[in-house]
Amino acid sequence: MRGLTTKPFPYFIGMHSLEELVTAESRVCVINILGSESRKVTPVSHEYSGGNVVAGVQYGRRGELETAIGNIPVFRSVLDVVKNGITFDIGVIYLPPAAVSQAVWELVTYNKDLKRIVIVTEKVTTRDSRNIRFTCQEAGVDVIGANCLGVANVWDHVRVGGALGGDHPEEALWKGSVAIHSNSGNFTTTIAEYLKTGGFGISTAVSSGKDVYIHFALPEFLYAAQNDTRTKAVALYVEPGGYYEKQAIEWIQTRRFGFSKPMVVCVTGRWKKDIVRACGHAGAMAGGGDDAESKEQWFDEYFGCPVFDPEKPHVTKRGVRIASIQQFPEAMRAVYKKLGEKSDFRGTGDLSLKLWISDNLLTLPPGLSMPVEQALSPYDEQIKEINKQIGAKMMRQNMRNKSGASRLNPDSQVAELHGLSVLALSENTVEENIYITIAKVRPQKTDIKRINFLLNLFLKMDTGSMDDVENAKINGCRPNAVLAARIAMIGDQPLLVKIRACSSWMIDMIREYEHDIVSGEPSPALRREIAAFCFSQNAETVSTDYTGFLLKEVTRSMKKRLPLMFCQMVLVFSDSEKQPVQDIDAFLAASLCVCLFWNPMLEKRISRETVEDAGTYLYIIAQMAMLSVISRRENTFWKQLVQETAFHPGVSFSENLFKILFNRKPSQTDLIELQMLLGLTLTNGPGTISAKGAKETISARNHISMAYTGFLCNTGLAHGGNGFEAVQFLFEQFESVDILPGQSAGEIDLKALANQKAKAYRKYKSEQKETGKLNYKRIPCINHPVFKGNSVNIDPREDFIRKQLQSRNIHNIFLDYYHHLVRELHDEGVTDNVFCVNVDAVLAVITLKLIWQDLKQNKISLIQVQELAFVLFLLGRAIGVTAEIIDHRDRGQDMDCRTPQKDVAFVM
């Protein structure tokens, strides 16, 4: 190859001066313009440069990229751009590394006007880099990069390539007389910022990249800087690896080209000579004589002076080397002084330590201690604003078929909620799990008392009538329909709105007046805030039956928690001012809710909105429990809990829930079985239709109560988890057998019973098959699509629960029967191997055990038992769905659950 050459170089260079590198007339085409990085960076460059991006390429599709000064047309290929009559002279490549060389060839092939290519992509292979160089040298095209942030011509207000100067290039890139060439993209901007503090602006900034091949390297940069009338000095940032700098110096010294402007050079990376593998910039690893110390020596010899010493600033007219980048302003000032030149403008400050944000935990010794200073504008204002923010902030995204709350563990196939498997969750009490679904962490001991208090109180705070529930049941509504209708009617009732408003106000006040609250003495400003929010003249100040309970609770304990300290401060202030707090119940309930979830919010586990909505979640769950009573007229406990004013704060929500569902006082074993039942049904992953119902409702921007309604509407008898069929199946097997399900089988031969059933089932199955009826009735709750194929199969979830029960000496005859049954089915040749007893069986056997005596004594009908099984499933899942609702509200977008048109089909 003969190749093109441009004097004085033995290779091609397409410019004479840095001014020409990129100009106001440059027309840019960005490849992969809609990629994640380019989509953010290109509009900023385009707007900063006054609209220099004339086209973009997104392979295979057309469109537009929106910018504030007009949209950039997007084409399918470079050829498509050219065919549409758009001319450009600079290509910018944002593709993944494997595609970069292809794009270079495409640009060179189809665009005869092409002058330069800027390659932003990192980790382009050395092989592709050398091929790119040969291609572009033959074509007469300059390349900047790869692995760079491009070029900025500050005088022309033009930025091409990557994100030099970040989102606000004008902040860092001030017009001036220094040209920057930096091996680091970040340092290109950082050096510009540092120089600004010394009064120096930028003419042109080049982020060269630091791959093995630097296509726009120091020799041609210095040559172009010499010919640039705007540039008086050069700032260089250099890393080890490569002989570009040595070559530039040699060529200057041998007068291959003239260079008379001073340079301030920072070389870093001495440590890299000791490593055998690149870290950071590829190609920076030293080998041979191009390590950092060698480079320092090259420059020191060229400058004729040692490294810059701020104490004794000695420089020559050729410049000086500095030990660290913070010395750029000082060294540049010394160089300008030597030349008799003035800086470009008044310096903007200095680079000394300026503490923006600090803890107040420790007193540091002198020399380390320093005051917090006001941050630069606009950051000072941002600090004020953000200081008010609290809680986790999730990135909004399309949450269709996604969840940040639940998943099915791919290894164990066990569902997890907030990282805890349902097996682990099934060991928690119901109230603990309710707390976890909201807070994402386990509650502390005091939290459990508080959540019990709130849930039990919310059981009572219903405003509706139960008559419509009765009517719905008469009309054949299933439990989910009844609950859905009533929960939907909760809407966003005033109590919940008020709790939310109070919670929000409290969080603001605590954030703003934390010091006052801790000191126990409200400042005048805080007093004014309290008076304005709590003591409205038109306030509804009526105390209710619940006010006394709430007051007792908020004054009881947990004084260390800011929300309660603040609540108590408000109450004291209210007393002293003789002004009653308006909406006192909501205010006190909000105080408890904020207190409950304060720590998870501070830990950024949950969002502020979740804390504000916590009252709503707890209220709805409590209401669902209240509405789940099977037969309220016979249930004395329900009447006491819901209708009477008496309140027993020491009783757990689990116990009350049990009483509502089973109309009796639970034993410890009963409570354990209830928590297992509900724990296991919390979730089966985000793909379940129950979760989808909630998510889709949120996606349509409904109230929280409607999200629960959505979930309820998406449940039914098809849910295996409700154990509906298994209850009936087991009842049929044991209807005529005298058993106590909680005791060991004793004289009852479960194996014989199971064998009898297996034989009967074999006969039934055979008959059905013979008559061609393949849709014959299956035995419910055995076998599983995943846990199968072995000679003996086990569902690990069922196995876990069974062992848990065994370890607590809790018997369940129905479960034992199921295990006999799967073995007998195999022994009788009905199944090829021993099927697993799946986790749904656990739900059925526990339910049936808990209600067996009532069923046998005809206190409850089989239909009601089946209804109860369904209700248990609904309650467990409602708790789990709470996590999905919160997650979707935090992360999702409006309408994100709709199915894209491309995924829907019309069928005949």
Binding site: E37, V41, R277
Partner: protein, 422 residues
């Protein structure tokens, strides 16, 4: 990513049918060794190091043997021999027995990329067997290569003639050496070096035989995977920490780490190649590792990286440093969220530990990121200082080192006694 020696080098050379000295692994049977001795007369015994360890000859780690007894003795001596290579002290794990090829010349040949010529080059000398840098200019030639054509035969001929290679060898060298470009170009090499190539007489002809091999690979070029080298050959260069982080590596970088001093006291999250270079230099052996997490890593990646970092180092670290210049594109909020979410979760799982946090950073969403960190650190009751980009990064590093010293000497103990353990 480097390899040296014929253990794997011979496999690579066979891909392009370049002749290579016969060799046997250290675990070869006595019978096989005796057979090779019978055939070759003399063997070369070399220790096997993983990675690109060189200059074994100079270190006296190569032995020539002509009997089975001597071969076994050499094996015993060299099997776990140690070698100072660069700044590292490395230990062998095995030996290789290679055929000794009698030859009256030794040829040096390498292919690499030249930053002076900005082209691929080959370097050739018929005076090989020693460091190429030690050769006089007239004894070697450096010739650039057109990457779309490869090594041209006439370039080799001219170079060998110019450097005084005996004519009887030129033809066979010209026939075989251009094949090496295929190996170099197609499998992600950045350097390929054969030194020495010895001229083996076969009948009336001479065949160039590679008697040693060194290569470095481009870690950004996945083509080397096609060589099917055992993973251990290249991964052995990585520490378990580096290896775990490396699994998160993508073409966008964002997860470059290099373990520096496991006994160090500072966990440095560095952002950007420049910050990586400058900060590592400043921190010296206080830095447990050096890193470059720049390039706008997504949250999941930053979280994953941070989890691994804490798993390995938080227990022994005094100071957590987040350092970078004014980011152009990296979202500070996203990166800080990843770093500090992982810190919170790690402490929740493994227990609280007093660690000082210093931040020096600029860029998009800076204040949101800093306040995100602040809230978590407040909750964890960990002390911190955060500086913006109007403070020099170097000043922040200096300050961090002072804090690290004070924290190590007294601060941490004082604070631990005072702080409520969470």
């Amino acid at each position: 990513m480097q390899i040296a020696g014929l253990k794997y080098g011979s496999r690579l050379l066979e891909l392009v049918e370049f002749p290579v000295a016969q060799s046997l692994d250290g675990d070869a049977s006595m019978e096989a060794l005796q057979q090779m001795l019978d055939q070759c007369g003399k063997l070369v015994v070399k220790p096997v190091f993983t990675g690109g360890v060189g200059k074994k000859g100079k270190a006296g780690l190569i032995q020539f043997v002509n009997s089975l007894t001597d071969a076994m003795k050499a094996k015993e001596e060299l099997y776990f021999s140690t070698h100072n290579w660069g700044s590292r002290r490395v230990r062998a794990n095995g030996v290789i027995f290679e055929e000794f090829v009698p030859s009256d010349i030794e040829v040096y040949f390498s292919i690499s990329n030249s930053t002076r010529k900005r082209k691929p080059i080959f370097t050739i000398s018929p005076h090989g067997g020693m460091d190429v840098e030690a050769l006089a200019p007239e004894q070697k030639r450096v010739v650039w290569i057109d990457p779309f054509i490869g090594i041209k035969s006439f370039d080799i001929t001219n170079a060998l003639v110019d450097t005084g290679c005996p004519e009887r060898y030129i033809s066979s060298l010209v026939r075989h050496l251009p094949k090496l470009w295929d190996l170099f170009d197609n499998y992600g090499f950045t350097t390929l070096e054969l030194n020495p190539v010895r001229m083996k007489k076969q009948g009336n002809q001479f065949v160039p035989v590679a008697c040693d091999f060194r290569a470095a690979f481009d870690q950004d070029n996945p083509s080397w995977r096609r060589l099917n080298l055992p993973k251990t050959v290249l991964q052995s260069e990585l520490t378990p920490f580096e290896s775990e982080i490396n699994r998160l590596r993508t073409y966008q970088g964002q997860s470059d780490v290099l373990e520096m001093n496991p006994e160090g006291s500072i966990i440095p999250f560095m952002f950007g190649g420049g910050a990586n270079s400058a900060a590592t230099e400043m921190l010296g052996d206080r830095a447990i590792f050096t890193s470059d997490f720049g390039g706008n890593p997504p949250y999941e990646k930053m979280l994953g990286i941070s989890r691994i970092v804490y798993k390995y180092w938080l227990e022994k670290a005094n100071l957590l440093l987040v350092i970078g210049g004014k980011a152009n594109n990296t979202d500070i909020f996203i990166t800080f969220k990843g770093i500090f979410d992982a810190l919170r979760d790690h402490m929740a799982q493994t227990g609280w530990k007093p660690v000082y946090v210093i931040v020096g950073r600029g860029g998009p969403n800076l204040i949101r990121g800093m306040f995100y960190a602040k809230d978590i650190l407040d909750r964890l009751k960990l002390p911190y200082k955060m500086f913006g980009y109007d403070t020099s990064m170097i000043e922040v590093l200096n300050y961090a080192m002072k804090i690290d010293r004070w924290w190590t000497e007294q601060g941490q103990a004082q604070y631990s006694a005072k702080a409520r353990v969470i």
